[in-house]
């Protein structure tokens, strides 16, 4: 049995579930960001798998490029916010941060 579309979808579903697990259980803000990266990667695998199994439709690749670009933007801005929070609180546990300004 060869590798078909279903294999890629199941692979990306597993990656998605692990990313959701990291987002829910981690307390450290940087580790939550890593969970978000896993979720975005699983979405990209889906886009490109569907592109390949639809006669190399290039639209899926374009969507994946924009997802990668947005992931880079998101990490840069989120890390700036995390560094700012660390200056105020001296930790970045997302469950204890409850005010924007001290």
């Amino acid at each position: 049995m060869g590798i078909g579309l279903t294999h890629y979808i199941v692979l990306s579903a597993i990656l998605f579930g692990l990313g959701i697990f990291a987002i829910i259980t981690r307390k450290n803000a940087v580790l939550v960001l890593m969970g978000v990266e896993l979720v975005l990667n699983s979405a990209n695998i889906n886009f490109i798998a569907f592109a390949k199994f639809n006669k190399m439709n290039i639209d899926g690749h374009i969507a994946a490029i924009f997802v990668i670009m947005l992931a880079a933007i998101e990490v840069a801005v989120a890390l700036a916010i995390v560094l700012n929070i660390y200056q105020n609180y001296k930790h970045i546990n997302v469950d204890e941060i409850d005010s924007l300004k001290d």
């Binding site: 590798i3 279903t6 697990f21 307390k27 940087v30 670009m69 700036a80």
Partner: protein
């Protein structure tokens, strides 16, 4: 047959290192496991005839995002060696979170198995590089999205520099 072996190799690499990312108590181990996850995803892209995306994945994710994340961890932890512990949630929360993610995985996989996908797969002979068609699409059909993306990048750079600046 060789494609199958390569796929299973990268699938095991991705899932194993993603498990380390999610479950490891040491944050440095998590970040370096994330490197292998990104590398495995790049391998899957190559397997799916997406050469440009594979190179982009390695350059942006491993060269950019991973370095940013390592900086984020190093700057926000009391570094006392390679052992940087992360606070975990309680056992009950872990159990319910695991339940939710297993439910998500099982339901998506069930949908994927039970749907009769109408596939018309690409054979390896009729594909050359994708770079030419991606470039054509980006400068014709997706020109507005492309230009808005560049404006968004500019705004993000200014915003990040403004937020992270020391007062």
């Amino acid at each position: 047959m060789l494609v199958d072996i390569v796929f299973w190799f990268f699938a095991v690499l991705i899932i194993g290192s993603a498990l380390v990312v999610v479950l490891s108590k040491n944050m440095i181990y998590s970040v370096f496991a994330l490197l292998f996850t990104f590398f495995g995803v790049a391998g899957i892209y190559v397997l799916l005839n997406a050469d440009f995306l594979a190179v982009t994945q390695i350059m942006i994710y491993i060269g950019g995002i991973l370095v940013l994340l390592i900086f984020g961890i190093m700057l926000t932890s009391n570094v006392t060696g390679v052992d940087i512990k992360s606070v975990q949630t309680g056992k009950i929360q872990m159990f319910f979170a695991g339940l939710v993610s297993i439910l998500i995985i099982v339901s998506i996989s069930f949908i994927a198995y039970s749907t009769n996908w109408k596939v018309s797969p690409t054979t390896n002979t009729d594909v050359s590089t994708t770079i030419e068609s991606i470039g054509k699409q980006l400068l014709t059909n997706y020109l507005l999205a492309f230009e808005s993306a560049s404006v968004l990048l500019l705004i993000a750079i200014i915003g990040a520099a403004l937020i992270a600046r020391r007062k």
